[in-house]
């Protein structure tokens, strides 16, 4: 933003919010750069799921849903891979090097022009499958992690609960002691009062 240019355009809200915007803590992440570096490869899971008759999950993305979605996704990936019977061996380019991919594709176009109608879709397909496998591994890792995380969280909760119970027991013991003390003192008071009554 150029200096002096207001952030809020409409005058109604400018007075209240301009200082909020100008005093906001700057972001530590260079989002734009990271987004530019992100690749745009993926497998159309929904289409595949539709093809194999799996209904995609809808609604919110809470842990359960995302887990079931992940499982659906993996199922779809496996089905995708199984459908391809004639995968030809083409060296895979990592998604981070689009230049290499472009060069290789261009070479394929030039050198293998008679067969490019067959080859290029296969190259794309293979890239998709490699990508799908990578995603599958990430998803599996995430699922394992989430399981581990939830187990650890449960453990922590259990510990907390135990500590609370321990404290409660301590309190109960304290109370019991107090009650016992009070009972003792009241009985001794009773005795002394009885004695004074007798004396009287």
């Amino acid at each position: 933003m150029s200096e002096g240019k207001p952030f809020i355009k409409n005058s109604v809200w400018q007075e209240q919010l301009e200082s909020v915007a100008q005093n906001a803590k700057p972001a530590e992440t260079d989002y734009k750069k990271l987004f530019e570096e992100t690749d745009n490869f993926g497998v159309d899971v929904k289409t595949i799921m539709g093809d194999i008759g799996v209904q995609p999950d809808s609604g919110t993305d809470n842990t359960e849903t995302s887990k079931s979605e992940s499982m659906d996704t993996i199922g779809a990936y496996i089905a995708h891979a199984q459908r391809i019977e004639d995968i030809i061996s083409v060296t895979h380019n990592p998604p981070t090097s689009p230049l290499r991919r472009t060069v290789k594709r261009t070479l394929l176009k030039v050198l293998c022009w008679p067969t490019r109608r067959y080859l290029i879709p296969q190259v794309n397909f293979n890239t998709d499958i490699v990508r799908a496998n990578q995603e599958m591994l990430v998803l599996l890792a995430k699922i394992n992690k989430s399981d581990r995380d939830s187990a650890e969280e449960a453990k922590r909760e259990l510990l907390k609960a135990n500590q609370k119970i321990d404290k409660l027991y301590e309190k109960i013991e304290e109370l019991e002691e107090k009650i016992a003390f009070m009972e003792k003192s009241s009985s001794s008071e009773q005795k002394t009062s009885d004695k004074t009554e007798e004396k009287a």
Binding site: M1, K5, P6, F7, I8, K9, N10, S11, V12, W13, Q16, L17, V20, A21, Q22, N23, A24, K25, P26, A27, T29, Y31, K32, L34, F35, T38, D39, N40, F41, G42, D44, K46, S58, G59, T60, D61, N62, V138
Partner: protein, 353 residues
């Protein structure tokens, strides 16, 4: 006879809804009218195809063309030759540059549409834009008799029953930030994700971003999803091809509508958010400030931290939120169906013999 040409009549689509609403209003006013379409899509009473229209059109008829994308050459050539008076309702065309990195075909079509639009100045007797921004474009291209006719939005449709199950799941204590629109680069979904990520990091970990819209441009959607995955930005929901009841549930569960779009000819979701009393924050571009007016917050800079800061101020200041919703309600009055249709009818009568 009045004809409305729409290239493709889609159910639930803003333009499709407008075409049907105009037809019904004209019928109520006892004015004969038909919808002419090119593509055989969903069935609608009172529609004919182009060839039938071509056979029957007369010099004293009126043809209203809803223009939002390039028309096939065949139709465009015929359009020039039709003997009747012709009016364009311009819904705007996304510039091709937005698509160059993702879909070259769409980019080319958008460029062709812009060329066609420039030629149209010699074809149409009048041109109406759905926003002031659209009208400025038409005037700069040399169109005559340019006027603003806001898009017709059917308010009662939004009172239909939402998906209650989905609503219950969304009302789980999380702050729901919503954007609805086709997942295309000009809508800048990435900027929404950047601001959301910053808000989540700095202010509220219990927040969720819901992105609803057509996801046909796969390369762009993959990039968005890959980015969220790689940067571990959690609670971002991508929802495509939802039933209307789900869209209603998303609006009813939203705490903020955040728009970062850089090209909008009108932006219907801004109005939809106002209907559902959802506070709106939107980047000031094209028709957005005009549609939003002083209702929601319009900002000039996409800096994620600034946007997140203002979002937080809005969520923590109830009086500000209430004032915004009140202003949005006032803004909605501009888009009252009756007012727009009456104006439209007057304009149509000027050109009808």
């Amino acid at each position: 006879m009045i004809y409305q040409y729409v290239h493709s009549l889609k159910k639930g689509d803003a333009i499709g809804n407008e075409v049907v609403a105009i037809r019904e209003y004209l019928l109520n006013e006892k004015m004969d009218n038909l919808i002419v379409k090119f593509a055989p899509d969903y069935p609608q009473k009172g529609t004919i195809f182009v060839d039938e229209f071509e056979k029957n059109v007369k010099a004293d008829d009126l043809l209203i063309v809803h223009y939002a994308w390039v028309l096939p050459d065949l139709i465009w050539k015929k359009m020039k030759a039709f003997p009747c008076k012709k009016i364009m309702i311009y819904h705007n065309i996304t510039p091709g540059e937005f698509f160059t990195n993702y879909d070259k075909k769409t980019a080319k079509a958008a460029i062709a549409a812009r060329q066609q639009l420039a030629e149209g100045a010699r074809v149409f007797d009048a041109a109406w834009g759905v926003s002031r921004y659209n009208c400025e474009e038409l005037t700069s291209l040399g169109y005559k008799n340019v006027a603003v006719v806001p898009l017709l939005i059917s308010f009662p449709d939004y009172q239909k029953e939402p998906n209650r199950v989905l609503m219950d799941r969304l009302n789980d204590g999380y702050t729901n930030i919503l954007f609805v629109g086709r997942m295309v680069p000009n809508k800048c979904f990435e900027d929404i994700i950047f601001a959301f990520s910053e808000y989540k990091k700095q202010y509220n970990a219990q927040s969720r971003l819901i992105l609803v819209g057509n996801d046909d441009l796969r390369t762009y959607v993959y990039k968005l999803k890959n980015f969220c995955r790689d940067q571990e930005i959690k609670d971002v929901l991508f929802r495509a091809h939802c039933p209307f009841s789900d869209i209603l549930a998303y609006y009813r569960s939203a705490h903020l509508f955040l728009c970062m779009s850089e090209h909008e000819g009108f932006c219907v979701p801004l109005i939809e958010s106002m209907i559902f009393e959802v506070p709106v924050m939107a980047y000031s571009a094209c028709a957005v400030p005009d549609t939003l007016g002083d209702g929601g917050i319009c900002f000039t800079d996409k800096d994620p931290s600034k946007v997140a800061g203002v979002m937080n101020a809005l969520f923590t200041n109830d009086s500000l939120k209430t004032a915004m919703i009140e202003n949005q309600k006032k803004q909605l009055q501009r888009f009252d169906h009756k007012v727009i249709l009456t104006e439209l009818l007057e304009k149509i009568r000027q050109y009808q013999n």
